[in-house]
């Protein structure tokens, strides 16, 4: 009799143990499993609007980018709110690895070519590294003919450079913020200007649905601009993502489409109602099968 009770109790204990073990086993295994906890999708695109974002292209991806900047909205209906005038930039960015992107493009304004290299030093992680850190270096060269035939422009005159560090964080599913201290150097300037310009880029994104987000891109130019003419570029827009395309529609007081141009050549002012419509169209192709 006693024996039976002992046996039953023993079996019951064992059975319970094994049930607990079964439940815990998978949980234990999950703990050991180190998944990829890198934070992705802080911004929809590799640009906030004008400036680089903390996002990189994936390895083997080609981003074909078409940018348009129109004339001042305040020109009214006669010019269809500026849509009659447009400058554009066509560009190609390549993701050489998940952390390294190179790109080049050409802008109709000043017939300017530009190229950059962008490298992600630190990638934000869930429950880990709190920010992403991205370094960008770029150059530009304009190719329009000198208006004065007696004073031809040298190669050196035509070139400009920039270097940038992007510190960005995706705070939650909806909100991301980045700061990007930037240095722009131009060889040819107005006598009143400085060759080296320091600026602080501020970019923010707030998702309003899975595929639509509001974005703000601002650059605070810290020194060097003839501030009676120059203004800080502020762009406000909407990102719309549709599979392989991202449309970035925005209003901005800047018409520049590379760093040299939008940081140092913005002269319109929002406070005077001087802003224009523009869009970036990004189409991503996969180069590897």
């Amino acid at each position: 009799m006693m024996q039976k009770i002992f046996t039953t109790v023993g079996l019951m204990i064992l059975f319970t143990c094994s049930v607990i073990a079964q439940d815990n086993l998978l949980k234990e295994l999950e703990k050991d499993q180190k998944g990829n906890n890198k934070v992705t999708g802080a911004f929809k695109s590799s640009r906030v609007i004008n400036g680089h974002s903390m996002e990189m292209l994936g390895a083997g991806m080609l981003d074909f980018r078409i940018l348009h900047r129109f004339g001042p909205v305040k020109q009214g209906i006669g010019d269809l709110f500026g849509l009659d005038q447009a400058s554009m930039r066509m560009g190609f960015d390549f993701g050489l690895s998940n952390d390294l992107t190179i790109g080049f493009g050409r802008t109709t304004f000043k017939k300017e070519y530009d190229a950059f290299i962008k490298y992600r030093l630190i990638h934000q992680e869930q429950a880990g590294t709190p920010v992403s850190l991205v370094a960008v270096a770029g150059t530009s060269i304009f190719t329009y003919k000198s208006p004065d035939p007696l004073k031809p422009l040298t190669f050196n005159d035509r070139t400009g450079y920039y270097a940038q560090l992007i510190i960005g964080r995706k705070f939650n599913e909806a909100f991301s913020l980045q700061l990007s201290p930037t240095l722009v150097y131009r060889n040819m300037i107005d006598p009143a200007d400085k060759k080296t310009i320091y600026a602080l880029g501020i970019g923010a994104r707030h998702k309003i649905s899975k595929r639509v987000a509001l974005v703000v891109d601002y650059s605070l130019v810290a020194n060097g601009l003839p501030m009676s003419v120059g203004t800080n570029p502020l762009s406000i827009g909407v990102d719309i993502e549709t599979g392989g395309h991202v449309f970035q529609l925005h209003f901005s007081n800047s018409t520049g489409m590379n760093e040299r141009s939008f940081i140092t050549e913005t002269t319109n002012s929002w406070s005077k109602g001087e802003f224009q419509f523009g869009f970036n169209l990004s189409r991503i192709f996969s180069l590897k099968k």
């Binding site: 143990c17 094994s18 998978l26 499993q33 991806m61 099968k289």
Partner: protein, 185 residues
């Protein structure tokens, strides 16, 4: 006497349990979305699975961020827009083998059985049933199964713009090579 009986029982129990639990840490989970315009395929080789041959309980746990796509953008969209893997990091299957057959792991044989259970994905749970095979060959125990998941069962929405590119029903293939779990009570 009693103590001896209990001790023997204990040993037997541990030993039998040792032989009745199968474990896999690197199950391959593949999914296929087949559409006239685009085929999408992704694979995850880190699926976790436990089978209790005694009770017939079978479990899978798969880290969604572990799915590798041929294309980084697809992978990002999968995680960000469809399964929302930072909110719902894993897919789970919990089920049981119907009419548990007697499985002898020492003999080469093929077994086929029905599995019924629940799939948990994207914060939603849905009933699921499939047929699974278990093969024992020269001490290697491998399992595989094929089934389809309806995205709408898991509230995964496909925007109209890409509805011709993403199938509403996703085909899943699971392959796992199991180890007999060593006793570690």
């Amino acid at each position: 006497m009693k103590k001896i009986v209990i001790a023997i029982l204990l040993m037997l129990a541990i030993q039998s349990q040792a032989q009745e639990r199968l474990l896999c840490r690197n199950a391959s989970v593949k999914f296929f979305s087949k559409m006239p315009l685009e085929n999408i395929e992704a694979v995850n080789n880190q699926g976790l699975s436990v089978i209790d041959l005694k009770t017939g309980n079978i479990e899978f746990s798969v880290l969604l961020k572990g799915f590798i796509f041929p294309n980084a953008l697809m992978q990002e969209h999968f995680n960000e827009n469809y399964v929302e893997s930072s909110k719902y990091p894993r897919g789970y299957f919990k089920g049981s083998i119907q009419l548990v057959p007697t499985i002898d792991l020492t003999k080469n044989a093929n077994y086929q059985f029905n599995v019924k259970g629940t799939m948990q994905l994207h914060g939603k749970t849905a009933e699921m049933a499939t047929v699974a095979q278990l093969q024992v060959k020269d001490g290697i125990i491998s399992g595989d199964s094929n089934f389809d998941l309806l995205l709408e069962d898991y509230a995964i929405q496909i925007p109209k713009l890409v509805k011709d590119k993403i199938a509403k029903s996703i085909h899943i293939n699971v392959k796992a090579i199991y180890q007999i779990q060593k006793p570690n009570l």
